[in-house]
C-alpha cells in the first residue's frame, strides 16, 4: 500500500449507523422538498412542460393512430386507443426529466464546484438524487394535467381501469428509475470531461429500447428480447403498457428490481468517482 | 505626424449635446415606474480633447454613451457627434467613431486578432493593403505587434484590451468612445492602457471620451472631467482646476507597531480622521502639503508597521462636488 493511500474508515457501530441513516434520510427529504418548492414557484416553466408534452404526445398519438389504421386496426396487438394511451404515458414519464442535469453535473465536476458537496457528511449522490426526484414531481403533475385530458379526448377512457390503476405507481417508479439511471450515466462526468455525449446516448436508448417512441412489441423479435432485459424498459414501457390496458402487475416487480439495481450501481460509481476526484484531482 | 482628426475638426465640436434626456418606464401596468436615467445633459467637446465622464454606477454614463453611439434614442434633447445626429445616422457614424466597451469583444477567441482586423477592414470598406499598413502602425503605437498573431484566448486581459483598442482604431476614427475599458485590469495594465490613450491622443489628435467610475482615470488620462450623478452633470471642469479643489486630498492609513499618543501627530495640512490604538487615518490636503512630506514625517516620528495611500473614494469626491455645486 502506498504511503498516500486513503485509510479505510473504522467500522461504524450499529446505533450510530441508524442515526446516520436518519440524518441522511432527513437531508435527502429536505433537498427533495426544496427542489419541489422551487419548481412549483415557477409556474411558467411548468406550463411550458405541460404544453410541450401536449404537442409531443399529440404528434405521436397522431402517428400511431394513423399506423393502426394503416395496419388494419391494430399494431402488434395494440388498438389505436391503446396506442394513444401508450404514447401519452410514455411521454409523460420521460418529459418530466430535466435534460440539463448531466450537463450541470459535468460542469460542476469540471469547475470544482462539486467539492463543496463532497465536504458535506451526506453522500453527494443521495442529495442530488433526492433533489432531482423532488424537482420532477411538479413537472410530472404538469405533464399529467396536459396529457391525460388529451388522451381521454382522442382515445376515450383507458382500455382497462385496473391496469390504469397499476399505471399510477408504475409511473412514479418509472420517473424515479429514470433519474437513478441518469445518475449512473452522469457519473461518467467524473471521468470524461464532456458528459453531454453520454446524455444523448442515454436519451436515445430510452427512446428506442425503453419503449418511449414505440411499444417494445413493435421491435423486431431479437431487439425486443434485448430490450426486455435492459433497465430502460422500466422507465417508459412498463407504465405505458399498463396504461394501454394490459393487466400485468408483475411488471411492477421488474421495476422494483431495476430501482434497487441501478441505485446500487449509482452509489458505487459515485463513490469511485469521488475517490478519483479526491485522489487525482480530476 | 499629421493628425488624423475627424473631417469636421475645426468645423464645430466633436461631441455636443443639449438637454439630452432619457427616461425609462419599467414594470407593467400598476407597478409602472419611471426611471430618469439621464436628465438634461448638455456638454460640448472639441476635437482633440481627452474627456473623462465619471460617475458612480447608475449615474447614467452607459445610457449617455449609448445615445452618443446611436443605439438608443433620447426621450428629448439633441446631440451631434462628428456632425451627425447619432440615432439618425447610426451606421454612417459607426464608420467615423471608434468604440471600446469593456464587456464586448470584436475579436474571435480561437483566432489571432489579425483575423478580426481583416473582417473589420472589409466591414469598413478599407482595402487590404491600407489595412495592413494601419495594423502595423497600431501595433507600434500600442506595443502590441507580437500579440496580433496569438490566439485571443491565450492573451491576458490587458493584452486583449490593447488588441481590442487596435480593432476600434482600424478605420482611423477621429473620436474614440470608451465605456469602462479598464474594468478587470490589474494596476499595471490599467496604467499602461491609460498611457496608450494619452499617446494616441497626442500623436493622432483622436478625441477621447471615456466613461469610468475610477478616479484615477481623471488623473492620468483626461485633461477635462465631467462628473455625473443621478443623470445630471455636477462638475464639468479641466483636470487642472479639479486638482486644486476636489482632488486635492489623499488619505493615508497607518498601521502601528504599538500604541502612541494621537496628539503627537500634528502635521501641517493634515487632519486626523480616525485614531485607534493601532491605526491612524489622515486626510492630507495636497495643495498645502505634498504627500511625500507627510509620509516622511510619519515614518520619522511613528512606529509605522504599514502605510497605505489611497484616493478618497469617488463617492466622497462626488459628495463634495455635489455639496459645492449646490
Amino acid at each position: 500500500m502506498s504511503a498516500t493511500a486513503v485509510e479505510r474508515p473504522a467500522r461504524v457501530p450499529d446505533g450510530m449507523r441508524r442515526e446516520l441513516a436518519g440524518r441522511v434520510g432527513r437531508a435527502a427529504w429536505r433537498a427533495g422538498r426544496a427542489e419541489l418548492r422551487k419548481n412549483l414557484a415557477n409556474p411558467g416553466g411548468l406550463v411550458v412542460s405541460g404544453l410541450f408534452l401536449l404537442v409531443v404526445a399529440g404528434m405521436l398519438a397522431a402517428l400511431w393512430s394513423a399506423a393502426a389504421e394503416a395496419n388494419g386496426g391494430a399494431v402488434a396487438g395494440y388498438t389505436a386507443a391503446a396506442l394513444v394511451w401508450y404514447v401519452t404515458i410514455s411521454e409523460i414519464t420521460t418529459i418530466s426529466q430535466r435534460m440539463q442535469f448531466i450537463d450541470e453535473l459535468g460542469d460542476d465536476i469540471g469547475s470544482g464546484r462539486v467539492e463543496t458537496a463532497l465536504l458535506r457528511p451526506v453522500p453527494m449522490v443521495v442529495l442530488l438524487w433526492a433533489a432531482q426526484v423532488g424537482g420532477a414531481l411538479p413537472r410530472l403533475a404538469a405533464c399529467c394535467l396536459g396529457g391525460l385530458p388529451l388522451a381521454a379526448v382522442i382515445a376515450g377512457a383507458p382500455p382497462s381501469w385496473p391496469a390504469a390503476a397499476l399505471a399510477i405507481p408504475a409511473t412514479l417508479l418509472a420517473v424515479t428509475i429514470n433519474i437513478t439511471g441518469q445518475h449512473v450515466f452522469a457519473a461518467a462526468a467524473f471521468w470524461l470531461r464532456n458528459a453531454r455525449a453520454t446524455w444523448f446516448v442515454y436519451q436515445k436508448l430510452v427512446f428506442v429500447l425503453g419503449g418511449m417512441l414505440l411499444p417494445l412489441e413493435v421491435l423486431p423479435d431479437w431487439l425486443e428480447s434485448i430490450a426486455q432485459w435492459l433497465p430502460f424498459m422500466a422507465m417508459a414501457y412498463v407504465p405505458a403498457r399498463l396504461a394501454a390496458g394490459y393487466v400485468e402487475p408483475e411488471l411492477l416487480f421488474v421495476q422494483a428490481f431495476w430501482l434497487v439495481a441501478l441505485a446500487t450501481i449509482a452509489i458505487i460509481v459515485f463513490a469511485r468517482g469521488e475517490r478519483r476526484l479526491v485522489e487525482a484531482g480530476a | 505626424m499629421a493628425t488624423n482628426a475627424s473631417p469636421t475638426a475645426g468645423a464645430g465640436p466633436a461631441i455636443v449635446t443639449r438637454d439630452l434626456t432619457r427616461t425609462f418606464t419599467t414594470g407593467r401596468r400598476r407597478e409602472r415606474r419611471t426611471v430618469d436615467a439621464v436628465r438634461g445633459i448638455s456638454l460640448s467637446i472639441e476635437a482633440g480633447e481627452r474627456v473623462a465622464f465619471i460617475g458612480p454606477n447608475g449615474a447614467g454614463k452607459s445610457t449617455s454613451i449609448k445615445m452618443l453611439t446611436g443605439i438608443l434614442h433620447p426621450t428629448s434633447g439633441t446631440a451631434q457627434v462628428d456632425g451627425l445626429v447619432p440615432w439618425h445616422d447610426r451606421r454612417r457614424l459607426a464608420g467615423r467613431i471608434g468604440t471600446l466597451f469593456g464587456q464586448r469583444s470584436q475579436l474571435w477567441p480561437e483566432l489571432p486578432s489579425r483575423a478580426a482586423y481583416d473582417m473589420l477592414a472589409a466591414v469598413h470598406g478599407i482595402d487590404d493593403r491600407t489595412a495592413a499598413g494601419r495594423v502595423d502602425e497600431l501595433g507600434e503605437l500600442l506595443g502590441a505587434t507580437e500579440l496580433f498573431d496569438q490566439p485571443v484566448r491565450t492573451l491576458s486581459l490587458g493584452q486583449r484590451m490593447r488588441c481590442e483598442l487596435a480593432a476600434a482604431l482600424l478605420h482611423e476614427p477621429g473620436i474614440l468612445l470608451l465605456d469602462e475599458p479598464s474594468i478587470g485590469l490589474d494596476l499595471v495594465a490599467k496604467r499602461r492602457f491609460r498611457d496608450l490613450l494619452v499617446s494616441l491622443n497626442r500623436e493622432r489628435g483622436t478625441t477621447i471620451f471615456l466613461t469610468s467610475h475610477d478616479v484615477a482615470d481623471i488623473e492620468i488620462v483626461a485633461d477635462r472631467t465631467i462628473i455625473v450623478n443621478h443623470g445630471r452633470i455636477i462638475v464639468d471642469d479641466t483636470v487642472e482646476s479639479l486638482r486644486r479643489t476636489l482632488l486635492a486630498s489623499k488619505r493615508i492609513e497607518v498601521g502601528l507597531h504599538h500604541r502612541i499618543d494621537p496628539t503627537c501627530i500634528e502635521l501641517l495640512g493634515t487632519t486626523v480622521t480616525e485614531a485607534t490604538h493601532t491605526r491612524i487615518s489622515l486626510d492630507v490636503d495636497t495643495s498645502a502639503t505634498p504627500v511625500r512630506d507627510v509620509i516622511d514625517a510619519l515614518l520619522d516620528r511613528l512606529p509605522v508597521a504599514d502605510l497605505t495611500v489611497v484616493d478618497p473614494p469617488l463617492e466622497d469626491v462626488i459628495a463634495d462636488a455635489y455639496g459645492d455645486s449646490e
Binding site: 397522431a62 | 426621450t75 464586448r104 483575423a115
Partner: protein, 258 residues
C-alpha cells in the same frame, strides 16, 4: 460592395473560429450524427413493421429526414444566430452589431457558427446518398429542396426571434424553434385537418419538409415553385419584422435603466 465583403469575411472568420478547435468540432458533430442515426433506426423499425402509412413509405420519411437534417443543419450550423436571436434581443446583446456600419440582421446571422449542427449536414447528405435514389435529376431536386428548406426555416426563426422585440423575452423564440423542428420531422399526412392547416400557415413545417420531400420524390416543378414562393415571402416578412423591431429596440422601449 463593402457590405458583402464585410459579411463574407465575418462569416469565414466565424467558421475559422469554430474550426480552430478541431477536436471539439468533430466531437460535437459526431454527437449529432449519432442522434440523427437513432431517428433513422426508429423509422426503419416503424416502417419495417407497417409498410406504408397514409402514402408515406420508409424511403419518403428518410428523404424527409435527409432534407431536414441538411437544411436545418445549414441554417443552425452556419447561421446559428437565427436561433439565438430571441435571446440576443432579450439580453440586449445586439449592441455589438449596431456599432458597425453594416446592416444588423445579416451581420448577426453570419456571426455565429455551431459545429454540432454541421454534423446534421453531413448526416443528411449521407442519408440521401444511401437511401434517396440519387439520380442526377433527383440530386438537383435535393439541393433545391435543401435550399428552400434552409431559407424557410431561417426566415421563420428570425420571425419567431423578433417576437422578443415586443416583450423583451425569448420565450416566443424558443417555442417557435422547438415546435417547428418537431413538427417538421414527422410526415405531415399523419396529422388531421386542423393540425395540417396549422403546419402550412403559422408554423410552416409543411413547407420546410413535407413539400420539399414530395418535390424530390415526384419531381413536380410546381411544388418547388410554391415552396420557393413561400420562402421568399417569409424572408420579406422576417426582414420587415426585424427592422420594425429594431426601431423599437433603439427607441429604448424594451429596457429598464442601463
Amino acid at each position: 460592395m463593402n457590405t458583402l465583403r464585410g459579411l463574407r469575411r465575418t462569416w469565414f472568420g466565424a467558421i475559422a473560429n469554430s474550426w480552430a478547435n478541431r477536436r471539439s468540432f468533430w466531437s460535437q458533430a459526431a454527437v449529432m450524427i449519432l442522434n440523427d442515426l437513432i431517428w433513422v433506426v426508429f423509422w426503419v423499425i416503424f416502417f419495417d413493421r407497417l409498410g406504408e402509412v397514409r402514402g408515406w413509405e420508409l424511403r419518403d420519411v428518410l428523404v424527409l429526414q435527409a432534407i431536414l437534417a441538411t437544411g436545418a443543419g445549414i441554417t443552425l450550423g452556419f447561421f446559428n444566430n437565427s436561433r439565438q436571436l430571441g435571446r440576443l434581443i432579450a439580453e440586449g446583446q445586439l449592441d455589438e452589431a449596431l456599432a458597425l456600419p453594416v446592416p444588423a440582421l445579416p451581420y448577426l446571422l453570419v456571426r455565429r457558427i455551431e459545429p454540432i449542427n454541421i454534423g446534421d449536414v453531413a448526416f443528411g447528405v449521407a442519408v440521401f446518398a444511401v437511401m434517396g435514389e440519387p439520380t442526377p435529376l433527383r440530386t438537383l431536386a435535393f439541393v433545391a429542396a435543401v435550399a428552400i428548406s434552409a431559407i424557410t426555416l431561417g426566415a421563420f426563426l428570425v420571425l419567431a426571434g423578433s417576437t422578443a422585440f415586443l416583450g423583451g423575452r425569448s420565450d416566443g423564440s424558443e417555442l417557435g424553434f422547438h415546435s417547428v423542428v418537431l413538427f417538421a420531422s414527422y410526415p405531415v399526412d399523419v396529422f388531421g385537418g386542423a393540425m395540417k392547416i396549422l403546419l402550412f400557415t403559422m408554423i410552416p413545417a409543411g413547407f420546410i419538409t413535407a413539400i420539399p420531400t414530395r418535390f424530390v420524390r415526384d419531381l413536380e416543378i410546381e411544388l418547388a415553385m410554391a415552396a420557393a414562393g413561400v420562402a421568399i415571402l417569409l424572408v420579406a416578412l422576417a426582414a420587415l419584422a426585424f427592422r420594425a423591431g429594431l426601431r423599437r429596440y433603439t427607441s429604448g422601449a424594451l429596457w429598464t435603466a442601463a
